[in-house]
Symmetry: C2
Subunit: 166 residues, 2 copies
Amino acid sequence: MSLRMALLGLLSVKGPASGYDLAKKFEISLNHVWQAGHTQIYPELVKMAADGLVDAGSEGARGRKTYTITPEGTRRLHEWMIEHAAVGVTRSEVALQAFMLPLLGRDDAIAVMERIRAGFQRRLAMLEGQSPASFGAYALRLGLAQAQVSLQWADEVLAELRDSAG
Amino acid sequence: MSLRMALLGLLSVKGPASGYDLAKKFEISLNHVWQAGHTQIYPELVKMAADGLVDAGSEGARGRKTYTITPEGTRRLHEWMIEHAAVGVTRSEVALQAFMLPLLGRDDAIAVMERIRAGFQRRLAMLEGQSPASFGAYALRLGLAQAQVSLQWADEVLAELRDSAG
DNA sequence: CGACTCATGTAATTGGTTACATGATTAG
DNA sequence: CTAATCATGTAACCAATTACATGAGTCG
């Protein structure tokens, strides 16, 4: 359902788009929030058209199909936003490795934490490169705050590990 | 693979356990990091036994089966920790709703944000109820830091929405 | 004896990833 | 002409959820 809603959201804000366009938007603007490749997007758009949430326009150049959100699609998106209590379920490989960190010796633990730290650093840099004035500004600010605090956590853990006897 | 590693981690630290025990541990100590129900755990343990990562003991009372990690299981877990670069992939319904918040009018947006805020509040309370001295201390601290900063973000967004003209 | 917890499983379905496959158009 | 980008799709597989199903032991 979330993929569906993400697609409706993009179509709602950015206007009519092809599956290809939407896949691009997932890569750039939505990347920190939700991910989907074209292999998931194309079939989903077909189902959404069958359900009357989008209109599939006629084929353009290179077989391009442009989808437009329908009033019913807009209605369903708003309904979902207002009624669906988003589940804050987290499945984080990083947190899992952090959980099990005490299984490793000091040096291995430091190496793992440095890799994790680098990941947070990369993520932060990616988010800082995004335009803060755009549509997804609230989500961007959340992502930035979380990335910053995670990086800080990694630094603290690294400092503790380095202070500990080897 | 992550489920497998989480199971090996639990068996490694807490000693031999049944699928039932492991499902309980997922609910309590590991809940903020990874989730898995018994319907996923039982078949996975069978596969892990076939792959030599765990030993399935003989059946006890009420058909209880106690699994023990093997040396090969320990080896594979350490290997994964050290070599597998955890992907920081995030798929958050909350962030998705935040992303699309501008689609809603002021009052609906406030209602959605209040619900999101309550979710973070609950999560924070849950984490604060966990023993900070236990095995998963590092992951717990990360979870707490992220929950706190998320709650702060929600408060800021709510203040902005309330200040804005209705 | 009835309710609860312990304990294990299967089947169907949904969601998501990886690999494979094809062809049109554009820029150099 | 050829490499890159545009553009769409299918098939196989892996991961996860929901629903269904069963039975043993324990507490009141």
